[in-house]
């Protein structure tokens, strides 16, 4: 069956069955990166444009490698080095990119809403690689894949998302996705870092990490997004680390089999203290590996792939 969507804007618009399909497809693509010759010809002749208007290491590398391993031609453009620096608006830039007939545009943008707006105006595929603090759907998909890979299922798992929820697109996409997949989500943050009206999100909310940690199967630490924190949200790094950081002591409080996740990049000494991230419970590098496979699956599906290929 053909995948019916050309775009991926957010997890909010997906249903559990669609998420499940992408996760299943991911498994078939993961194997390709383990081969000696890491390339299949499924997107030969296709062009994928990567527009990254915000700094990125993992997501950008991952999308570019994913496209290349599927034999697509890629070109990547950042805010610096592009005409964005000369004041060209994103929508003008998109018009110019479209004149070169790409098959897919992957966008990361510092403000919310642009991927959706672009997707409504262009005929090619648009994949959101993170917009402001709206959504980061491929991150949530790779997170759910990594959880499922470790536990075999997502339904009924206890997942804590800890830290800067209010400024996090990762938290939003994961809350939407994990809830649809039947996980029980707990958000842990000081009052200043919780979105207004979070009570209506259908998740548990706690200001305290210590009582939450032992009950969790997954502890997902978020980066304190200092570049987005404008104003008095927190006191000091040491107080944050003391109340919300993943310390060795807190790792020791985790249940047997529980895992640590982080979307990266980490602020060491803030949300991840000392060896917390390097512990055997961390699946942070699995997240990165799986990110590549998830993006291969998505590029393949969005560019007209079949959902039942193997």
């Amino acid at each position: 069956m053909k995948w019916p969507y050309k775009d991926l804007i957010g997890i909010q618009g997906m249903d559990a069955g669609e998420i499940e399909t992408i996760l299943e497809m991911t498994t078939s693509f993961k194997e390709i990166s383990k081969r000696d010759i890491k390339k299949v010809p499924v997107l030969r002749g296709k062009t994928v444009v990567l527009l990254f208007y915000e700094p990125s290491t993992r997501t950008r590398l991952s999308f570019e490698l994913a496209a290349k391993r599927l034999s697509a031609d890629t070109v990547a453009l950042g805010a610096s080095g592009s005409s964005f620096e000369k004041g060209e608006t994103i929508m003008d830039a998109i018009d110019n990119v479209m004149a070169m007939n790409p098959d897919c545009i992957v966008i990361r943008y510092p403000y919310a809403g642009i991927p959706e707006k672009v997707s409504r105006t262009v005929p090619c595929s648009v994949i959101n690689a993170g917009d402001g603090y709206h959504e980061h759907p491929t991150q949530a998909l790779l997170d759910m894949y990594s959880i499922k890979e470790r536990f075999g299922y997502i339904q009924g798992l206890n997942v804590a998302i800890v830290g800067d929820i209010v400024h996090s697109r990762v938290a939003r996409s994961n809350v939407y996705g994990l809830k649809k997949m039947g996980a029980k989500v707990t958000l842990v943050a000081p009052g200043t870092l919780l979105p207004y009206g979070v009570q209506g999100w259908g998740v548990r909310v706690s200001h305290e990490l210590d009582p939450v940690i032992p009950q969790m199967d997954v502890v997902m630490m978020l980066r304190v997004q200092k570049e987005r924190i404008l104003g008095p949200f927190l006191s000091t790094d040491r107080e944050y680390a003391q109340f919300y950081g993943l310390t060795k002591k807190r790792v020791g409080m985790m249940g047997p089999g529980a895992v640590i996740m982080h979307p990266g990049p980490m602020n060491r000494g803030v949300e991840i203290v000392h060896e917390g991230a390097d512990f055997s419970r961390s699946i942070i590098l699995d997240q990165v590996e799986n990110g590549l496979a998830v993006r291969m699956a998505l590029l393949y599906l969005s560019l007209g792939g079949e959902t039942d290929v193997d």
Binding site: G191, T192, H207, P232, F233, L234, S235, E239
Partner: protein
């Protein structure tokens, strides 16, 4: 210890009766109304030889008073007051617990300062001292203080008292951050722009005296802001030392629509007016300033109706030399620990306010707002008890003030009511020998 035949007033259960209180170690073991012979006599029969007995006939027994707003000036301004001298003044006034504000030097914005204050209070060994942490680092209004770490060190609330937070978003974040750690925020509502260089209430009198005025609007706009930010976030706020008719009306409306706002008022704002300033009396200079008679009557009415929750002293000692300066230059603030009890009696006698309501406002209600134990005389409660002669008349003179500072607005006035015994954790820490 036995307290025999006292007029027991317990605001925690809203009861008043004649009876005996039996204290064992630091707790109240039993309370026996007169006539409840079976229980009383059985307990009395088990009296340990040598156990202290206080004949309290004719005395009012009430919970030790809790004053949730004092300045003990230590560290930094020990020439004005220190934790020991402040504690001595407190027990002489029948006060057994205080919350001390953060505007010391250094400011109490760090757990090390919090622990220092608690250590000093332990050494003084008279009353319970609950430190209040700063809302922002250095009370500068820029960066949030380490409320979580201070909470672990022992603060019970945070406040911007003395250096009010002007930026509304800072207040919002401070409320959100304080609530994270279960801390109440005590707001000093003052618009620094409107209050400007004012030194007394603005009006005909300030104009006649040639003194810069502080308009009621300087308070009301900030009370309105505090209420709206608390309402918007759904969080609690406590607004301290209200002084204007308008503030009371704002709080009344807010409470009626369910905003989690509480507030307090000082004895001097309840009993005195701006007329005290005449003669350039620097002991009538404080922030907020003494207002007009209609404001004062509105405060009394607001208190009577329960719109105002607590009475606090805002005990603010300053040295003789400082208060001897020109009215414009003298610092704001008056002491109040030893005049709180007479003020309650005066409000009862002159304004007919129920004694239960008055005692409640200096015991069980502030304890509830701060989340601390106290304010009850029930069996099992902490034995913090004040025995009061409600009829004793005395004149407030510098020589009977236990504070280092003598800057009282009630100096040379006749007081009615005094603490005869102040008991903290089952120990008599003050006995009035006069």
């Amino acid at each position: 210890m036995w307290i025999k035949g006292a007029d027991i007033l317990d605001p925690a259960v809203k009861k008043r009766f004649i009876g005996d209180i039996h204290v064992v170690q630091d707790r109240i073991k039993g309370v026996y109304p007169l006539g409840d012979h079976s229980r009383d006599e059985k307990a009395w029969a088990e009296k340990v030889p040598g156990e202290e007995v206080i004949d309290a006939q004719g005395l009012l027994a009430m919970p030790g008073m809790i004053d949730m707003h004092v300045h003990f000036r230590e560290p930094g301004f020990e020439y004005k007051e220190d934790i020991l001298s402040g504690s001595m003044a407190a027990v002489a006034g029948g006060i057994t617990a205080v919350a001390c504000m953060a505007n010391t030097s250094p400011v109490n914005d760090d757990p090390a300062i919090t622990r220092f204050i608690l250590d000093k209070a332990d050494q003084a060994g008279l009353i319970r001292v609950f430190p209040v942490g700063a809302v922002t680092k250095g009370l500068e209004g820029k960066d949030l203080a380490e409320m979580g770490r201070m909470r672990q060190a022992g603060i019970v609330a945070v406040s911007d008292d003395g250096m009010p937070v002007q930026d509304a978003v800072m207040l919002r974040r401070a409320l959100e951050y304080a609530s994270t750690f279960g801390l109440m925020l005590i707001s000093h509502a003052q618009d620094m722009g409107l209050s400007g260089k004012g030194v007394m209430n603005e009006g005909a009198l300030s104009a006649a005296l040639g003194l810069e005025g502080i308009p009621w609007a300087a308070e009301d706009v900030m009370v309105a802001r505090d209420i709206m930010v608390a309402e918007y976030t759904g969080l609690s706020i406590h607004i301290t030392h209200l002084s204007t008719r308008g503030s009371i009306e704002l709080v009344r409306q807010a409470k009626a629509r369910g905003v989690k706002v509480t507030c307090d008022v000082t004895p001097h704002h309840l009993l005195l007016t701006e007329a005290m300033v005449k003669g350039y009396n620097t002991n009538a200079k404080m922030y907020p300033p003494l207002r007009r008679e209609d404001d004062r009557l509105a405060l009394i009415e607001g208190f009577r109706q329960g719109i105002i929750d607590c009475i606090v002293t805002d005990h603010a000692p300053h040295s003789y030399d400082e208060k001897a300066l020109d009215f414009d230059l003298a610092p704001f603030g008056v002491i109040g620990l030893q005049t709180l009890l007479p003020a309650l009696i005066r409000l009862h006698l002159d304004h007919g306010i129920d004694l239960m309501r008055l005692v409640d406002s200096v015991s069980v209600t502030p304890a509830g707002i701060l989340g601390i134990e106290g304010g009850s005389l029930c069996p099992g409660a902490r034995a913090d008890i004040t025995l009061v002669d409600t009829k004793d008349k005395w004149v407030l003179k510098p020589e009977n003030i236990r504070s280092k500072a003598h800057n009282s607005a009630f100096l040379n006035q006749t007081m009615t009511g005094s603490a005869l015994y102040t008991i903290v954790a089952g120990q008599v820490v003050y006995k009035n020998e006069n």
